[in-house]
């Protein structure tokens, strides 16, 4: 019988070296135990509330709503979390779990640096050693985050192999984990990789949709009509969608990074241009050539610059439950500037992909309809890069 573990339709699974199998089995057992453990859940909730600043605000974007003249727009402000993004939700959960498992060292990949900063933060808080793998190209694009990680006591290893971006950082993390398992937990940053990671990360991020549901019920007394978020690996989107999957009236939209456009080679819109494959421990959609070689992808956003997508998203796409739309660099940069001007909120360039599609969709919706857009992170880290994109000579 085929491995039923961690399957989302045909996607998911555990395609990893034998060396790591007992590690993921132990992780699954520990997670299944602690997810039901009131003491663990209580400690996590306290950390999320007291340390990370949850619940995050569901903010009614009145000016944006008025300007676009359609649906009522609410912004789920994950950018207001400690460390400035949704990544902390997952990291606090995994670090706590790793600690309970007796691990003393966290390793993680990072693209934009947000997950690396969150992991370094949790490691500092919980007295754990921390090593972050980051593509060399990304260490240049996100130099400030490299400094933040070092400041927090983490070692940052620039990855020079392959395209020197996020996928290569994941490769290096996998290699590091196979060489040191006993004391080390791989704190994977998105809803991807081998089972049980896609489930664990989704569960820790599901707090986003649980709060949206409660907060909107209080404000509007009903469910939203649309929930949308940006998708790289897809953790903030999965967290935003999760508690609405069983509500057919809620339209779920993931915004992929199209880079210079889905009709060019310089894109990272995996669901739109990829095909089914097996990589990084999972079966899912991947950008690849006809012989299965993983394609170099491109996006202005280091956090969405990934050739795959989480297996649960692949499945939601297959069954038509969620839609995945491409958003170009240019549209995302416009949206970055738009939200800053209109609402006084500077979103992460990743989140700006979702804002960009909201600008397109909201005017087509009725004034009695409600749209929730997750602002997954804050944009301070992107200011220099966007300025350069606009031709300003600004360096950090």
């Amino acid at each position: 019988m085929r491995n039923p573990k961690g399957r989302f339709g045909i996607h998911g699974g555990q395609y990893i070296p034998e060396t790591l199998m007992n590690a993921v089995i132990e992780l699954e057992e520990a997670y299944n135990h602690y997810r039901e453990d009131p003491a663990f859940q209580g400690e996590l909730t306290t950390l999320l509330n007291e340390y990370a600043g949850r619940p995050s605000r569901l903010y009614f974007a009145e000016k944006m709503t008025r300007e676009l003249g359609g649906a009522k727009i609410y912004l789920k402000r994950e950018d207001l979390n400690h460390t400035g993004a949704h990544k902390i939700n997952n990291v606090l959960g995994q670090a706590l779990l790793a600690k309970r498992m007796g691990k003393t060292r966290l390793i993680a990949e990072t693209g934009a640096g947000q997950h690396g900063v969150a992991t370094a933060t949790a490691a500092a808080l919980m007295d754990m050693e921390c090593v972050i793998f980051m593509g060399e190209e990304d260490t240049r694009r996100q130099a400030l985050n490299v400094y933040r990680m070092r400041l927090l006591g983490a070692k940052v290893v620039p990855v020079t192999t392959g395209t020197a971006t996020l996928k290569d950082a994941v490769n290096e993390c996998m290699r590091e984990w196979t060489s040191r398992i006993d004391d080390t937990h791989y704190c994977l940053g998105s809803v991807m990789g081998p089972h049980p990671f896609p489930t664990i990360v989704r569960d820790f991020q599901a707090v986003i949709s649980r709060e949206i549901r409660d907060q909107l019920k209080e404000k509007e007394g009903r469910l939203p009509d649309v929930v949308m978020a940006c998708v790289g690996g897809g953790s903030n989107a999965m967290g935003s969608f999760y508690h609405f999957i069983q509500e057919p009236s809620v339209r779920l939209i993931g915004c992929e990074a199209a880079g210079r456009g889905v009709d060019t080679m310089e894109t990272a819109a995996t669901v739109n241009v990829g095909k089914v494959g097996i990589f990084h421990g999972m079966k899912s959609y991947f950008c690849q050539d006809e012989f299965g070689q993983i394609a170099p992808v491109y996006s202005i956003s280091a956090g969405l610059d990934y050739p795959g997508v989480g297996p649960e998203h692949a499945w939601l796409h297959d069954i038509g439950r969620a839609e995945y739309v491409p958003v170009t660099d240019e549209e995302a940069v416009d949206a970055f500037e738009y939200l800053a001007r209109t609402e006084g909120i500077i979103p992460a360039i990743e989140s700006a992909h979702a804002i960009a599609f909201a600008r397109k969709l909201a005017p087509e919706m009725g004034r009695d309809q409600i749209m929730v857009v997750t602002v997954s992170g804050r944009g301070d880290k992107d200011c220099a890069a966007i300025a350069r994109y606009r031709g300003e000579d600004l360096y950090e």
């Binding site: 019988m1 085929r2 491995n3 573990k5 699974g13 555990q14 395609y15 990893i16 070296p17 034998e18 060396t19 790591l20 199998m21 007992n22 590690a23 192999t161 392959g162 996928k167 290569d168 490769n171 996998m174 290699r175 196979t178 060489s179 040191r180 398992i181 095909k275 089914v276 494959g277 097996i278 990589f279 990084h280 421990g281 991947f286 690849q288 006809e290 012989f291 299965g292 070689q293 993983i294």
Partner: protein, 256 residues
């Protein structure tokens, strides 16, 4: 009986790994022939993958050079056809799941059988996921080789009972590449394997010197060497065959 068993017929087996297409397929063919002529019992042909997560720096670099040089799965099958005109020892592929999956598992494995590939090693396909490829392997009589790692513990018997061809024992934690020392308790792993299956087992990862090769083969049924050979090819380039042959000779002499 598995064709791969032939490799273990006459004492300890020496298994040579070569990345296809580094620096080009002609060099690969010459190196395979040199290895066979100098006593290699089995050849592992590596089909390069863009993201070889189980490999250390030497084979990563070899894979990159091969892909940059334009090697594709179809060209590798062409190489096998060419080699099978005169190379009679068993040959297996080592590659990653996506290379096989994207070609179509049935089509890939059928072509293996047609061209003369006897087995398949997929380092990112553990016991739990082997069904994906096993059906076609059985249909075309290509052995899917199982790996056992230092961390396998209670999984060894389960893996060994269903293993075919030979069992690839991963000597150490981490990725492929030469190591000065191998400290894993391989004795107990081999004992556990032998209590569950009759098929042979060979040790790979980290072996480079004749002394290491002999020690690993004494513990098991054979030794597998990859990075040490690819280092020679990286150094010697298109004229690597004689040096590869001499190296294989030194290893096979030490093993027997």
């Amino acid at each position: 009986m598995s064709k791969i068993a032939k490799a273990f017929d006459h004492g300890k087996a020496f298994i040579a790994f070569i990345t296809c297409g580094d620096p080009d397929l002609e060099t690969t063919a010459a190196c395979v022939r040199a290895a066979a002529e100098n006593g290699a019992d089995l050849i592992e042909l590596g089909i390069p993958f863009s993201d070889p997560a189980a490999e250390g720096p030497v084979i990563q670099a070899a894979s990159l050079r091969a892909l940059t040089g334009g090697v594709t799965t179809d060209r590798v099958f062409g190489l096998v056809r060419e080699l099978r005109k005169d190379v009679t020892i068993p040959m297996v592929f080592m590659t990653y799941a996506n290379v096989v999956f994207s070609y179509g598992a049935d089509r890939f494995i059928r072509t293996c059988a047609e061209t003369g590939i006897d087995g398949l090693i997929l380092p990112d396909v553990p016991y739990e996921e082997k069904e994906e490829f096993l059906e076609a392997c059985h249909r075309y009589d290509v052995n899917l080789i199982s790996l056992v790692a230092p961390t396998s513990r209670q999984r060894i018997a389960m893996i060994a009972r269903e293993a075919e061809g030979f069992i690839y024992i991963v000597s150490s934690l981490g990725v492929t590449g030469t190591r000065s020392e191998i400290t894993t308790d391989l004795d107990s792993i081999v004992r556990e394997i032998r209590s569950s299956t009759e098929i042979p087992c060979a040790v790979g990862f980290g072996i480079s010197t004749p002394e290491q090769g002999k020690r690993m083969a004494d513990l098991s049924d054979g030794a597998i060497v990859g990075s040490a050979i690819m280092k020679i090819i990286a150094r010697e380039g298109r004229n690597a065959a004689p040096a590869v042959g001499a190296y294989v000779r030194s290893m096979t002499e030490a093993l027997r």
